[in-house]
């Protein structure tokens, strides 16, 4: 190893740390928040009889199909059982975004070129970014351990659990380290890394449905706590395996970095067509083109997800032994009203619909990105009015988000129908479950349009609303709030506890009207405001 290849790493590390001083704490502290939410939920549910509650869950075929078996029947066990997937997701996303932000994004924007013209080595950026990401994970790990010890976990088991979580984060740092080497765009690196992350989640769900002791424990990091078994045996030895698995992609990323030019990828960029196709001639065509790739990614993810869910649903939901918590969610006895087979899939569809809300927001904000990066200046000097430009992006947001739910309904309906052996009887119900989520998702299109059009600087507030709706859902499930508060969330009107035959059509119709109203106001705002331009 040659020292000059690492020159400047320290300075770059300080620079990256400074640039991330607000972002880093978010994903470092989020696991603590998640643990506290899980802990308070279970404390409020079980109190003294927590063991019985967990036993009840463990016997519930439906719940354990999603979360796998409980490994130890106390508060720490509940945290590991319920919180691991969220913590792994947080650290995974935090790691991959941090790493890509300081490597490929810097190369894409030309900052790396400037940096490399000073005394900095080939590996400096990658090393500094990896160090930052790994240190971020380590701090998150320390906080996780302290939190669980504080909640009554043993020191050694808490540490083992925390280290397991840290290795998951580091694994995804390594994966994105490889992903940034492949192509010259940061979007492609993000796409690859998130795909791996999504695959990990999917495999862990699959693993849970088969009892969580399959070979998948070795394959997907999202199931690594099943190997080390913190609070339930503490198998430290597996950490060696994790460290090797984490080191592999990191080593590969160094090898690839050395073999490519700055700004280039390992794969040679494809050239494009010499002329545009005749139909590529409107802002709408452009909006579609800009979002196409991302959209197909979502379609694939949605279909994979729902097919897995739907295929297992019929057999799972019909079995006896549903836990009291699930059948008495938020104080309702919804399971009595709903046909038993639909319980599992309706939750699955609901969860995905929440995520389609994220898709809706990001799709609207693509226009914001276009504005910030100075690309709408060369459109507005043409025969393109502001209204037409924004409308194009909104049409795509409305259509694509609805299409996602339609596709989920069709794929879920087919998979469920085939798995249950009664396609004709079930398809319509599953399809309606999915399609009924269109109005709440559209609220996020309308809301984002309103904020972007009128107050572009605070348009990120859409995310606050989305997160609030998710928190409402969690706190309602934990019986901390009642339905009247839950019904602030647009998702409440197509909630998974509501039977398809009893959907509140008027409310859903009103949601669509509100969304369109928001959109109209947003369009008017955009029509009358300054466009942000580069100086």
């Amino acid at each position: 190893m040659n020292n000059k290849n690492f020159a400047g790493t320290g300075i770059l590390f300080k620079l990256f740390l400074h640039r991330d001083r607000f972002l880093l704490p978010i994903w470092i502290f989020l696991p603590v928040v998640l643990i506290l939410i899980v802990a308070s939920t279970f404390s409020s549910m079980g109190g003294e009889g927590l063991e019985n509650v967990l036993l009840d869950f463990d016997n519930d075929p439906l719940v354990s199909a999603i979360l796998g078996p409980v490994m130890s029947f106390d508060l720490t066990g509940a945290i590991v059982w319920r919180g691991t997937s969220q913590i792994a997701l947080t650290l995974g996303l935090g790691s991959l975004f941090t790493l890509i932000r300081h490597t490929r994004v810097d190369e894409e924007t030309g900052r790396s070129e400037l940096i490399r013209s000073y005394v900095t080595g080939t590996y400096a950026s990658l090393t500094a970014a990896l160090t930052l990401t790994i240190i971020g994970n380590l701090i998150a790990g320390i906080l996780i351990a302290i939190t669980i010890i504080f909640l009554g976990g043993s020191i050694t088991s808490s540490l083992l659990y925390a280290i397991t979580m840290v290795t998951i984060g580091c694994f995804f740092a390594g994966i994105s380290g490889v992903a940034v080497q492949l192509r010259e765009s940061s979007g492609s690196a993000r796409g690859i890394s998130i795909t791996v992350l999504g695959l990990g989640i999917l495999l862990s769900i699959l693993n849970n449905t088969v009892g969580a002791d399959s070979f998948l424990n070795w394959i997907t990091p999202m199931a690594w706590q099943r190997l080390t078994q913190p609070f339930a045996g503490d198998n430290w030895i597996y950490l060696i395996y994790f460290i090797i698995i984490c080191a592999l992609p990191i080593i590969i990323s160094y090898v690839l970095t050395a073999r490519r030019d700055l700004g280039e990828g390992i794969f040679i960029p494809r050239s494009g067509p010499k002329e545009a196709s005749p139909r590529f001639s409107s802002p709408l065509a452009l909006a579609w083109r800009l979002k196409k790739k991302n959209f197909f990614g979502w379609i694939i993810a949605t279909v994979l997800y729902i097919v897995v869910f739907a295929a297992f649903s019929p057999s799972l939901s019909k079995t006896e032994g549903m836990s009291g918590w699930l059948s008495n969610l938020g104080g309702t006895n919804w399971v009595e009203d709903m046909e038993l087979g639909y319980v599992f899939i309706s939750i699955g569809i609901y969860l995905m619909a929440l995520f389609v809300g994220i898709y809706a927001i990001t799709t609207v904000f693509r226009l914001k990105k276009e504005e910030n990066e100075g690309r709408i200046e060369i459109l507005l000097d043409k025969q393109v009015s502001r209204t037409k430009l924004m409308r194009s992006h909104l049409i795509v947001a409305y259509l694509f988000s609805a299409t996602l739910l339609l596709v989920m309904g069709i794929a879920g309906g087919l998979a469920y129908g085939i798995a249950s052996g009664d396609l004709g009887g079930n398809f319509g119900v599953i399809f309606s479950m999915s399609v009924s989520k269109i109005p709440p998702v559209w609220i996020f299109v309308g809301l984002s349009a309103l904020l972007y059009g009128l107050f572009p600087r605070i348009s990120e507030f859409s995310w606050v609303i989305w997160i609030s709706c998710s928190i409402l859902e969690l706190t309602w499930e934990a019986k901390l709030i009642d339905w009247s508060l839950m019904s602030i969330s647009p998702y409440a009107y197509a909630h998974y506890t509501i039977q398809i035959t009893e959907l509140p059509y008027l409310s859903l119709f009103l949601l669509i009207v509100i969304s369109l109203l928001f959109t109209t106001i947003g369009l008017l705002g955009f029509k009358n405001r300054n466009i942000q331009t580069k100086a």
Partner: protein, 300 residues
């Protein structure tokens, strides 16, 4: 009727008064230079003309219409090239040119092919891989392939090499020959000197000078290099001479244009061996307007 008529235009972003008082008229069929240093308000003025930014106050007529209200109709008749073109990384250059041309209302395919040749641009490359100069070329090819009455350029040749700069100048000359109007913002002064009929100079959000190049030259000084047979110290007594430097009987100094007669009398009496006169350049004009700002800053 003038193609562009701006009266008392102001523009503020919050407390920042970017444009204080812009008065600008561009006649039909002329190439009008718009010069000034960075941050003087050139791009802001142009973006208001395009209806991308909204004016704070003042009157603007663009091709007889209101650039904010009638933006879309007016844009049929104009094309624009910004100084820093940002493109869609995933689109090829060819796709971008076609899209922009179609959004304008159609482009001349034959003309586009010629321009791609002239500017030596490979349209199959993804925009992500283009250098700054090549991104400018994409915008220029698209603009010159379109039919328009008014061409607005905002430092269009930044990043282009001298060969391409010349091709740009040829394209503008052609456009001018066809009787179209051009507003060319630039700080490449040779470009302005070669192309422009009239020039407006902007400084700190105000137009400080407008006129033909000859008129503007009149405001500034020629530089004289002269070698005399005997001493010509009387030069220093004249009111119109400035910055005299002497090396033996060689003198170098600048003169106000109205002092030429007096200077020649003194020189003739001293006997002239050789003499060159450098005409006032736009550079000097520029420095005369902005040198003051720089000096003030240095004092602070």
């Amino acid at each position: 009727m003038n193609a562009i008529e701006i009266k008392n235009l102001t523009k503020s972003f919050g407390k920042a008064h970017v444009l204080k008082d812009i008065n600008l008229s561009v006649k039909q069929g002329e190439v009008h230079g718009f010069i000034g240093p960075n941050g003087a308000g050139k791009s802001t003025t142009i973006r208001i003309l395009l209806g991308i930014l909204r004016k704070t106050s003042g009157d603007i007529s663009l091709l007889g219409g209101d650039p904010w209200k009638d933006a879309v109709q007016l844009h049929k008749r104009l094309v624009y090239v910004p100084g820093d073109v940002t493109l869609w990384p995933d689109l090829s250059g060819g796709e971008t040119i076609d899209l922009l041309g179609r959004l304008h209302g159609g482009l001349n395919v034959e003309r586009k092919k010629q321009l791609l040749e002239l500017f030596q641009l490979d349209p199959t490359k993804k925009s992500r891989t283009y250098s700054k100069g090549n991104r400018q070329k994409v915008a220029l090819v698209s603009a010159f392939s379109c039919e328009a009455d008014l061409y607005i350029f905002d430092e269009p040749t930044s990043g282009l090499d001298p060969l391409m700069e010349e091709i740009f100048q040829d394209c503008v000359s052609e456009v001018k020959k066809a009787g179209k109007t051009v507003l060319l913002s630039s700080h490449i002064l040779s470009e302005v000197e070669n192309l422009c009929d009239r020039v407006s100079i902007i400084r700190q959000g105000q137009i400080v000078e407008t006129g033909t190049l000859d008129q503007l030259r009149h405001l500034t000084r020629s530089t004289i290099n002269v070698e005399t047979k005997k001493s010509a110290t009387r030069l220093e007594e004249l009111s119109g001479t400035h910055g005299i430097s002497q090396n033996g009987f060689k003198y170098r100094f600048s003169i106000d244009s109205n002092a030429l007669n007096d200077v020649m009398k003194v020189l003739l009496s001293a006997g002239i061996n050789s003499m060159t006169v450098e005409p006032p350049s736009l550079e000097e004009l520029f420095m005369r307007h902005y040198g003051e700002d720089i000096r003030k800053k240095e004092e602070n």
